[in-house]
């Protein structure tokens, strides 16, 4: 497949090309970079939706439902579902496809599972790459599903234009979890498994917190709280309506541009960071220099502070000027 033009094929929406370039991104394979550079001008058209929440809250089932709704409006959809890798074995069980089988023969839907792999450069970067591939491939909507636990996942959600946080009754202290950064990233709250006991109470609690937050912070967008029973497809139209309303708000207020500008800023800095780190790490590990340094630090001949200075001055001579 050496004569295969990946860039042209991605722009035509070829699943084969999109899938392979995503693999290269995951593997940090050099072949990814030139492709990404060439498809970049063709990105920025897809609307990016994030769906996050604790394990098993119904994120995949909701993703499936929203995808169904979008397909009924003849919009095409790309899905990136991120699941954790085991830190012990490096393996991963990626089970999100199970909930989306009704779309598996639909050429208007492309679904990719990704493992977190403990990326040194940050998971967000790879997710962003995958989103761009789908975007350049002509998908109208890209949905990212992640388990909302750590900082990595919060970072991933910054890639999204609209972020939905999924909560379910019976998972313990919601207010506690709402303190831990969730309120900052949620544009929409989804109370899923509304068929379960305690759903009304959870709804009221979340609504109360949202109102309280709105009165303190004077937010221009007050996150709506949407009730769903994803397994029965109930409430998914309300959810799509809320997503559309948020999009309209972002577009009309100029917030969408601002959001995207911030994202490019963040992303560019992160990419520079990642590339510099990669180069320097490669050099330091090549002649076991890092091990020597560690030994010398252990023996108190050096310390991490002067090692940093030394390394930086060695490879970034310009920094001496400051």
């Amino acid at each position: 497949m050496d004569d295969f033009d990946y860039v042209a094929e991605i722009l035509k929406g070829s699943p084969l090309a999109m899938a392979r370039v995503m693999t290269w991104l995951e593997n940090e394979d050099e072949r990814a970079r030139s492709c990404m550079e060439k498809i970049y001008p063709h990105t920025g058209n897809a609307y990016v939706l994030g769906i996050t929440g604790s394990p098993g809250t119904g994120k995949s089932t909701l993703t499936d439902g929203v995808t169904w709704q979008l397909r009924n409006k003849e919009l095409t959809v790309g899905i990136v579902a991120v699941d954790p890798s085991s830190p012990f074995t490096g393996g991963a069980l990626l089970g999100d496809r199970i909930r989306m089988t009704r779309h598996s023969a639909d050429p208007g839907v492309f679904m990719r599972s990704m493992a977190t792999r403990g990326y040194l450069g940050g998971l967000a970067q790879f997710t962003r790459g995958a989103v761009k591939v789908l975007d350049a491939g002509g998908k109208d909507f890209v949905i990212i599903e992640t388990v909302g636990v750590g900082q990595d996942e919060v970072d991933v959600m910054r890639v999204a234009d609209t972020t939905c946080v999924v909560l379910v009754p019976g998972l313990g202290d919601v207010i506690q979890s709402m303190k831990a950064g969730i309120m900052e990233i949620a544009d929409i709250y989804v109370i899923n498994k509304y068929d379960r006991p305690g759903a009304d109470q959870l709804f009221a609690e979340v609504q109360f917190r949202v109102d309280q937050d709105a009165s303190i912070k004077d937010r221009a967008w007050v996150p709506p709280v949407i009730a769903t029973v994803a397994v029965e497809g109930k409430g998914e139209d309300d959810l799509l309506e809320a997503i559309t309303a948020h999009r309209t708000y972002l577009e009309q207020s100029g917030r969408l541009l601002e959001k995207r500008r911030n994202r490019i800023n963040e992303e560019t800095l992160q990419m520079i960071h990642h590339e510099l780190f990669r180069i320097i790490r490669e050099r330091l590990t090549k002649d076991s220099r890092i091990e020597q340094m560690v030994e010398e630090i252990m023996n108190h001949k050096l310390n991490p502070y002067n090692v940093v200075e030394k390394v930086v001055n060695e490879w970034l001579p310009a920094s001496r000027l400051k």
């Binding site: 084969l16 995503m22 393996g91 089970g95 496809r97 089988t101 492309f110």
Partner: protein
């Protein structure tokens, strides 16, 4: 370049509703360091191949208990070829009569693992036979 992982689709074609075996195998592959996409029950060959395509899988593992292997397994190989995915390693398992094995292998299934095959053997075979991409 980051370390490469073997990505495997575990699929259970056919109509029977038991997937304990397929789920167990998925866990075994994950324990062995692979990235396992489990696709669920009642998969058609078309759905399995679409998953392999989108996930850029290295391996497709098919499990069958209901006697559909003679149709399903070769069909998956054929559809993979049609999608320019002939590099994907296809292995099968489940309850498969010995006399069917030669035909399946001729149709492009790399190996068939009967019930009770030590999981190390399966994992070892996959690791030795995946192709780079």
């Amino acid at each position: 370049m980051a370390e490469k992982k073997i990505k495997i689709i575990v699929a259970k074609p056919g109509l029977d509703g038991h997937d304990r075996g397929a789920k167990l195998l998925s866990r075994i592959f994950a324990e062995a360091g692979m990235e396992v996409v489990y696709t669920g029950l009642r998969q058609t060959p078309e759905m399995i191949v679409e998953a392999a395509l989108q996930e850029d899988a290295d391996v497709v593992g098919l499990s069958s208990l209901s006697g559909v292997h003679n149709y399903f397994f070769p069909k998956v190989v054929e559809l993979l070829k049609a999608k320019k995915l002939s590099n994907v390693l296809v292995v099968g398992g489940g309850i498969i009569p010995l006399e069917d094995i030669p035909t399946l292998k001729k149709a492009g299934i790399a190996e068939i693992f009967g019930p009770g095959t030590p999981t190390d053997t399966i994992v070892g075979f996959i690791k030795a036979n995946v192709k780079s991409k």
